[in-house]
Symmetry: C4
Subunit: 261 residues, 4 copies
Amino acid sequence: MGNKAKQKVLKTLNKGDENDKLSKGFDTFIMALILLNVAAVILETVESIHLRYGDFFDYFEIFSVIVFSIEYLIRVWACTAIEKYRHPVWGRLKYMMSIEAIIDLLAIIPFYLPIVLSNADGRMIRILRLLRLFRLFKLGRYSMAFGLVTDVIRKRKEELVVTLTLLVILLIFASTLMYYIENKPGREGFESIPETMWWGVATLTTVGYGDVYPITPLGKLLGAVIAILGVGLFALPAGIIAAGFESELSVRKKKKKQQNE
Amino acid sequence: MGNKAKQKVLKTLNKGDENDKLSKGFDTFIMALILLNVAAVILETVESIHLRYGDFFDYFEIFSVIVFSIEYLIRVWACTAIEKYRHPVWGRLKYMMSIEAIIDLLAIIPFYLPIVLSNADGRMIRILRLLRLFRLFKLGRYSMAFGLVTDVIRKRKEELVVTLTLLVILLIFASTLMYYIENKPGREGFESIPETMWWGVATLTTVGYGDVYPITPLGKLLGAVIAILGVGLFALPAGIIAAGFESELSVRKKKKKQQNE
Amino acid sequence: MGNKAKQKVLKTLNKGDENDKLSKGFDTFIMALILLNVAAVILETVESIHLRYGDFFDYFEIFSVIVFSIEYLIRVWACTAIEKYRHPVWGRLKYMMSIEAIIDLLAIIPFYLPIVLSNADGRMIRILRLLRLFRLFKLGRYSMAFGLVTDVIRKRKEELVVTLTLLVILLIFASTLMYYIENKPGREGFESIPETMWWGVATLTTVGYGDVYPITPLGKLLGAVIAILGVGLFALPAGIIAAGFESELSVRKKKKKQQNE
Amino acid sequence: MGNKAKQKVLKTLNKGDENDKLSKGFDTFIMALILLNVAAVILETVESIHLRYGDFFDYFEIFSVIVFSIEYLIRVWACTAIEKYRHPVWGRLKYMMSIEAIIDLLAIIPFYLPIVLSNADGRMIRILRLLRLFRLFKLGRYSMAFGLVTDVIRKRKEELVVTLTLLVILLIFASTLMYYIENKPGREGFESIPETMWWGVATLTTVGYGDVYPITPLGKLLGAVIAILGVGLFALPAGIIAAGFESELSVRKKKKKQQNE
């Protein structure tokens, strides 16, 4: 089969324009399948649902893996139509190393591995099941939300690194101080600095579960000061990401407008 | 009666300008009645108040329903004075399908339904009582706060959809990971992924009730990373809505200024 | 005594410029006295400190009241030097009705009232003691922080009213829904809608004490949706006030710069 | 040795440019050593790790102190090559009083002090160990994150002072009111105003551990009002610092761009 056919196949598989009905229909089918898979992974863990519909989930899993496997094989077969993956062997291997292809592979491999590894134990199978959630990333081809996050993080990398460094330093200092004040024999939650960091994170992010908190007057005083000062610093990455999103989205809106004109 | 009369009636019912004393007085009366109704719905649920003033609440309910019913009937009768609801039958039906009219209907129907449905059970009546709170939406005619929310959400729809998608994805990933780590026999709160999502929401929104939290070291480590990274993402919709409000309000302020000049 | 003398006295009492050493020294004395008074009100409530230094606190209270009383009397006497309080009787009464003078009066009256009202009971005296904290507002004359808040709130009044209205509506809806779902016999915290509002406030402000939280699956689902959507809305007033502060402070900075040039 | 040699030594010790391999290598070595030291301080507090690798930590401590001591001595010796520390005695003393040098000294002194003070007790040694964490500040020479914080705080000092003043006033008022309402015999957490402030901080920062919360209806009402109004004010410093960071980072980015051109 010629490159023309391969190009047509790829076009159908990828996000199609509004006019191509076949491509559009295929997109909808794959997206629905991905979302149903995610729903299945989530619902399967509910005991009562698992007991009742366990078989159905198994059949659905087999069906999904077959569809995703065929999709994967077709993509690997057709990728040579793209200039940079032209070579029949090296081009295909290069494509298989792309992030896109690895996500596609991770979406199906958890099914095949236990068959290959006959001696896979229960814990291994549990982790493999977890990998099924990577199917969600297949959505990246269709939704701009994924690309947006990557873009924002890339553009604000410097700011995020600086502020995250500051957060970690603040966390270390707050936790060390609190450890030295609150660490008493028989006192849970402050047995070591890493333990105390759990308090630190809960306080500085303002989650405040309430499983650990200072009880000595000095600890409370320090905790109050840390909370008042630190909360501001921990809101920084949120502010940076929010600003990044706003500007990125307005840029995209403008672009879209210009294209439509 | 001619259209003139209907138009006058409608003008009196709707938010009037400062000079028309009758319209102004009627507005105040309806707004006060709505607010008192909301207060009644809320206070009625307090056992001690219900026992003491139960009869009064019943009378007030009957009075309110009569007023709101008359208002509804007058509006349906008078709506033909508006160009697009001109037809005496179809125009009125069209008006009755408008959001405004449906809100007005929802405000009175919970009272009439139990009379019509003679076999309505206790649970049904409870839900109907809940519907009484929809009377609050009748305020939408008088307060710009309601319209503002609708406008902001419409204008920032795209941003909100993208960020809410991200939130849901983050929530699914965080909860799935935490489920695989913390799910142990006899451990409450992490029995299934949907269960674990309750922890996820409490953590990522920083509410942190403290009814569920990780206890294994690995779970705490993951919880800390999720809290630090995720809190930023969950603050995004807040930022977007806040920015939308600010710009929307400043636009309205400018308009008002220009009108006054 | 002439107006000249009164003007000089007022100038010494009020916030003086850097060069007038007497005025500057008096400012520092009054500010220190106010801060010490606040510290005294706070520390006095600590049992161990009260038992040990009770007498000292009483003497300090008498000393403070004497100083503040003399200050008040001098201000009332000298206010006639200001144009708008010129009349010896009506001017002085008008001054005594100004916010500034009322704050000054509230700062001393809790001391005199129990002497006048011979039959004041314990509860009355407790409330009068609370009023001593109003001395803190006397700082308003010296610190620009107080004026700033007033200015920001006045300028953003409209926005704040709209968003607070929205918050209250959201709170009412969230609490009513949650009440209908979670209200079961023997279930604490959801006995009535006002009770449930305590949960609503704790959730929507993300404080999350953990004394009440939904336990039914439907309640948790609704709680999660409310938390995700509502948190954004409850962050609005914070955003508006923050924006107001930023702009107000930059305006003041510019003004100060221009004055110094 | 001449100034040339000293200048070369200092250049090697300080953050070098990309081309000087020796300086670059030394930077990496010191930074790695600092980070390992921080990790050691943290991990040492974990009982199981301490029992197993205690000796290793001791050797690593000795090695680190030797390296940092030599670095300190070399810096003191070589500082005379810098114009302002030219004088062999006074210049060196002046250098030793610089923040940079004091941080370097604080990084090593906790090791030597117990040797000098033969009668240092357990508590003293604990505090000295805490001082080891100051080694983290040695990173300030290599990371711009530290300088950034200092700059932002300096530039927004005025705003931060005003808002922190407001926070403290709000905290005092909220806690005093709550103390008068919730203080009942046998009620923990509201025994005095300073005690109640712990509730105040936990509520206003939205941490909400849940160890103390109002239980009387009036206390809950006040707590709700404080939470709704106060949360906005407590988010102010966060907003100010975030805005400061954003503008500071964009200024630095621009500068860097101009330098590269």
